[in-house]
């Protein structure tokens, strides 16, 4: 594991301070504006549409093991499951990692219990550990989507090449698909197969977007301040690097 050098420590403290400061501001009632993210707004519509068609909903948390990405995915799972529970709809959750399976089960049960629908659907039928192998996971999801004729396919997590298989199967089944991933390399595949694609930091914004929890929204505002600092460092670095080019300086002086 690498260890922090002095600039990393300074930036870490600075960024943490920004995030915590904004969280405190949000907790004390400051209004944090969140811009509209089309891919996240359409989730409610997707759930509603699947309900109208009486087709199940699938929430795919990707292939994240125990990590920050998994927690972000599962917080959205909680939101989606609550919405579906209100409409008496099941949410199918294919899982690739054993630890993710254990946690998804808790989130799923908790959501249905919270809406008073505990016991309506069997856990083992809806949350299934498929496989840790990418090929097996992708094909299992594809088969599940086609057999059950999934109506709304929500892909929230990190994926490898199986993203194409899963998303294309959803496309062929006629499901409305929303992909939200922090992994950059699968974004092109999602863009061509899914109806809406959200990537990058918006993946981490999803939880705040749905819950409007002050901690989460304040954290988003803090992230924006951090990005401003990074932008400033980039501009400063470019200027310093350009101006300290020895030949450049000499040429400017001789010009």
């Amino acid at each position: 594991m690498e260890h922090a050098s002095a600039p990393v420590i300074i930036l870490f403290v600075l960024f943490a301070a920004f995030v915590l400061l904004q969280i405190q501001r949000a907790r004390h009632g400051a209004h944090i504006f969140l811009r509209r993210i089309a891919g996240l707004e359409v989730i409610d519509d997707a759930i509603g549409r699947a309900t109208e068609q009486d087709r199940p909903i699938m929430f795919n948390p990707g292939r994240d093991d125990l990590s920050v990405n998994l927690f972000c995915s599962l917080s959205v799972l909680g939101y989606v499951t609550r919405k579906a529970a209100k409409l008496n709809m099941p949410v199918n959750v294919p899982v690739s990692m054993p630890l993710a399976y254990a946690m998804a089960e808790e989130y799923w049960k908790d959501a249905y219990d919270a809406m008073g629908r505990g016991g309506m659907f069997a856990v083992e039928d809806n949350i299934r550990y498929l496989s840790g192998d990418q090929n097996a996971f992708g094909m299992s999801c594809a088969g599940w989507i086609k057999r059950e004729r999934i109506g709304a396919n929500l892909l929230f997590g990190s994926y490898g090449f199986e993203a194409m298989i899963i998303a294309e199967a959803g496309q062929q089944a006629g499901a409305i698909q929303v992909a939200c991933t922090p992994t950059f390399f699968q974004v092109p595949f999602f863009i061509v197969t899914c109806d809406y694609t959200v990537f990058g930091e918006e993946f981490y914004a999803a939880g705040a977007y749905f819950s409007h929890d002050p901690v989460l929204t304040g954290s988003l505002a803090g992230q924006d301040w951090c990005k401003l600092v990074v932008l400033g460092l980039i501009v400063a670095g470019i200027l310093v690097f350009t101006l300290t080019q020895q030949n450049l300086l000499a040429n400017l002086l001789l010009w």
Binding site: N69, P98, N135, F161, E201, Q223, N247
Partner: protein
């Protein structure tokens, strides 16, 4: 305290441990050179005999250590315990380490020249000075060479006009001038001299080309003798001494006592050299210890012997005081993960058994799941370890000779079996048991287990030969030798199922992506808007530019419109436009991950504790 509160506290404490381990400055006391020692250099300064070396505590993390030789006893002592110089915050030229030290004493001042590795891991020759016998050093940046009298160095060429990356060098301060011999990549040996190290003039001609230099140089140094450079090359297990001017060997090449010398530098005295030797460890070492030992010696300049051992290292340094606990955390995670796998497998079994019980459509897939789960489970868990086949004879009181004979027989029978059959030695397991009465070997039992095909006709030929070989080596009657040769059913079965089912299925699955990509591309590349046009054009340029076809289509364009060539355009699109967008997104992802991690660590994110009572 509620369950949720207790978990938050536990998560905070564990997270705090990891954060502290990450942010704690790396302790560089006695540990800084525990992994490797390299690049020694020495000199005599007044009454002090000094040596400096590059100590590594991990592969790329290093610091320069200082050794002092006690006049009376001749023993070398490391003082201070901290490194005297190490890659620091804004030292871009040595970001990835230092190597090839050379130290010169000028009056009361020491000058150290060293080869740093910059951000691009390219070598940059730099120097530093010390006025207090090497306890503290002041950096002066890169050594600057020129051929035309203008002394420019830049970020791109920090050493100035040097013709090619510096691979080896020798430096000496002689009669008021700094003089250097450099071996540059692809060019060869060049000489330089100058009044200061930032004002070195290169001789215009290459003294010896790369082809004229010895092959496989692992170390190089040179010294001025009667104003002529004499080079000392360590190459191909030999020390070669030759005049650099004419390339003629001055002394017989010396076969090195230890053929894995990885560093050589003349000094601290005229007839001495400091060398580093690499040895693969022959004894079993703990996993956290480096498998290679490096040793620092003060040897005769002509390496007639390895001389006096100064340091011997070969352990994994612990960067901080908390690093040991990281391994425990990793072990704990694995244990928890194991339980999670168990839960996940139970879920699989429950689901598929329910499908079979309820006779749902497609239950044949569930049946196949159970069949293969059982088959693979049996093959994996019940695969025999070597020596656990059938009946064994165990010696009650084995003598050392009998134990050695067993080991020798095992090795020779494995070789004999693989020679006589077509079965690779990785697919064979051989065990030998000797029967002993008092101290005399009276019988032998040879177990051979193989993966693969071994026809009965071939077996009938091979087994008697093996029996005869064992009897001959153990000096016993052939009738007292039993040979038991059988296929390793478990391993063969596992191998077969893996290669015949799992691998082809994976390949077939991966291949379907090709067809999915074609259908997705057909849908995507429809020109409906300005952005779609841009996407289409960029995709076309990148795809065609990667192919020979793209190069052929535009190869006839004149050089002054090189920017219209498809390969160039494709590269620029990928390396400039695409990568800048990628980096922007990556910055956002990293900051988002940091914020999310911070929330979870500080227990602010309630969604993590779903299902727990508040």
């Amino acid at each position: 305290m509620s369950k949720r509160g207790a978990l938050k506290l536990l998560a905070f404490l564990v997270g705090l441990y990891f954060v502290l381990e990450y942010v704690l400055p790396e302790k560089l006391g006695g540990d800084f050179d525990s992994y490797e020692v390299r690049a020694p250099a020495g000199c005599v300064l007044g009454t002090n005999t000094l040596a400096f070396y590059v100590g590594h505590y991990r592969a790329e993390q290093c610091g320069i250590g200082r050794l002092v030789q006690s006049g009376a006893s001749g023993t070398w002592t490391r003082t201070p315990n901290q490194p005297v110089l190490q890659p620091a915050l804004f030292q871009a030229h040595e970001r990835y380490g230092m190597s090839q030290l050379a130290v010169q004493a000028n009056g009361s001042e020491l000058t150290m020249v060293y080869l740093g590795k910059n951000m691009q891991r390219e070598p940059v020759l730099c120097y530093a000075t010390s006025g207090d016998t090497g306890l503290t050093w002041r950096r002066h940046g890169p050594v600057v060479f020129s051929t035309n009298g203008h002394y420019w160095s830049s970020h791109e060429y920090p050493n100035g006009d040097v013709p090619g990356a510096i691979q080896w060098y020798a430096a000496q301060y002689h009669e008021g001038l700094w003089r250097m011999a450099l071996i540059c990549a692809t060019k060869g040996l060049v000489l330089a001299q100058g009044p200061t190290l930032t004002n070195m003039t290169l001789q215009p001609t290459v003294l010896q080309s790369i082809a004229q230099l010895p092959l496989g140089i692992t170390a190089f140094d040179a010294r001025l003798v009667s104003n002529q450079w004499r080079g000392y090359f360590v190459a191909e297990g030999r020390l070669r001494v030759q005049d650099l001017a004419d390339g003629v060997d001055q002394m017989d090449t010396v076969d090195l006592v230890d053929k894995d010398i990885c560093a050589y530098r003349l000094g601290p005295r005229a007839d001495e050299a400091l060398i580093c030797v690499e040895r693969a460890s022959a004894t079993a070492r703990a996993p956290e210890q480096a498998p290679v030992l490096t040793e620092l010696y003060c040897a005769p300049a002509r390496l007639t012997s390895t001389g006096t051992l100064i340091k011997s290292v070969g352990a994994q340094g612990r960067p901080t005081y908390l690093t040991r606990g990281i391994k425990w955390a990793g072990d704990f995670t694995m244990i928890v993960g194991g339980f999670a796998v168990f839960m996940a497998v139970i879920n699989l079994f429950l689901y598929h058994s329910k499908r079979i019980a309820q006779r749902q459509p497609g239950l044949h897939n569930s049946v196949l799941f159970f069949v293969f789960a059982v088959v693979m489970g049996v093959f994996t868990f019940f695969g025999n370890k070597p020596g656990e086949y059938g009946t064994q004879i165990i010696m009650r009181a084995p003598t050392p000779a009998a134990v050695a004979l067993e080991a020798a027989l095992k090795k020779s029978m494995l070789q004999a079996f693989t020679t006589l059959t077509n079965i690779n030695d990785k697919r064979v397991t051989v065990e030998v048991c000797l029967q002993q009465q008092e101290t005399t070997v009276t019988g032998a039992l040879l177990h051979v287990r193989y993966i693969g095909i071994f026809p009965a006709a071939q077996r009938a030929q091979v087994l008697p030969q093996l029996r005869a070989a064992v009897a001959s080596q153990a000096r016993i009657d052939a009738r007292a030798v039993q040979v038991d040769c059988a296929p390793d059913v478990m391993k063969t079965g596992f191998d077969f199922v893996f290669k015949a089912f799992l691998v082809p299925l994976g390949i077939a699955t991966f291949s379907t992506i090709t067809f999915y990509m074609i259908s997705a591309a057909y849908r995507a590349f429809k020109i409906r808007s300005a952005e779609a046009v841009l996407l289409m054009v960029a995709a076309f340029i990148v795809m065609i530019g990667q192919l020979p076809l793209g190069a052929w289509l535009t190869h006839g364009l004149p050089d002054n419109v090189f920017f219209l060539q498809l390969p160039w355009l494709a590269q620029k699109l990928l390396m400039v436009a695409n990568s800048s967008a990628f980096r922007g997104v990556l910055i956002g992802i990293m900051i988002g991950g940091l914020a999310a991690g911070l929330r979870i660590w500080l227990g602010m994110d309630e969604s993590v504790y779903a299902g727990l009572d508040k």
